[in-house]
Symmetry: C2
Subunit: 200 residues, 2 copies
């Protein structure tokens, strides 16, 4: 049995999809962060204004109120935001991996089946998506394999019958009837495809 | 041809997967928002302390410094955060839909093939993922359909030959040779599966 298992050593298995989604999610997070900073700025300004009104304060240099005039705070903020962004990007890549990952063994399995190898078995990682599709594909391959095996056996029987018929010339009547039965049996097996097609 | 197209009218096609991922992403966003509020609070406190030190200010009621003591600001903040969260949840559901969605027609196609209907064609939405898997599956079905058609034609020829052989009893020698050739041809077709299996 060809082990169509999942030997994914890298986390990037489908770059265009994985980088595309990561870029979109990263952009969304950056926009969220900018909105958050803007809100923080607005609220700070608002609170300070309220305090100034409430306590009759006065500030000589109003620009010093802007929180980002304080370099250490700005740097710590940017470092923390960068860390959060990196975590988000890593989580996104893991997420896209669990989506793009299962496509590799599934496509490999279908490719094997196209080459005529029905002896496949897709094994996904427990955390992978698309388990039910993998199960259905495994079942399809296994059922088709059995069907082909049945056909092959019938053909083998016809062949043996025809060969012995050629050797001895006595009683070809019964042999012919037997061949007819075998052919009818094969037709019945192939009718499986025909009837299923018409049911749809 | 059975049109295995994608008639997805709802956006929830796989609840356990879609709600699970949406819940995880929502949780991540809420944690991010809490961190953001906490940072905003810290920075505000820090800026205010710096200002108070710098200008030798004094505040009678220190609790009034807390930004969330201002109800209108708190409510607007919460409403905005809720809106952002709703947008995020809707985007996540659309994202999970584009992942879970294609599994429906793909599984339906494999199910049809398991019933013996090789006349399928999976058509995914242009934005859907898993296009290459769908293409491979369509190709597999079409190729297997041709193979089965070939087998069926060969069997039909054998059947005709055997029937005419039964009717007239003259010259069965040539007829037998002909049957043998047909059987060999079928064996060759079935060997397709056997040889592919051994190449792996």
């Amino acid at each position: 049995m060809s082990q169509t298992t999942n030997k994914r050593k890298t986390y990037i298995v489908n770059p265009s999809y994985q980088y595309g989604l990561t870029a979109r999610i990263g952009l969304f997070a950056i926009v969220g962060m900018i909105i958050s900073v803007f809100l923080c700025f607005l609220i700070t300004q608002n609170t300070l204004s309220l305090l100034i009104l409430k306590y009759n304060l006065s500030i000589e240099d109003p620009s010093s109120v802007f929180i980002f005039n304080n370099l250490p705070i700005t740097v710590s903020y940017l470092v923390l935001m960068a860390l959060l962004l990196i975590i988000l990007v890593l989580l996104t890549i893991r997420h896209t991996h669990s989506i793009a990952g299962p496509m590799i063994p599934l496509e490999r399995a279908v490719h094997e089946m196209r080459k005529g190898n029905l002896d496949i078995h897709v094994r996904l990682r427990s955390k992978d998506y698309a388990h039910s599709l993998a199960d259905a594909l495994n079942a399809l391959a296994s059922e088709q394999s059995e069907l082909i095996e049945g056909l092959r056996e019938n053909i083998a029987k016809i062949k043996t019958k025809v060969e012995t018929m050629g050797d001895k010339s006595e009683g070809p009547r019964n042999d012919l009837e037997d061949i007819k039965r075998k052919v009818a049996s094969i037709e019945k097996q192939l009718m499986f495809f025909e009837t299923a097609k018409k049911q749809v």
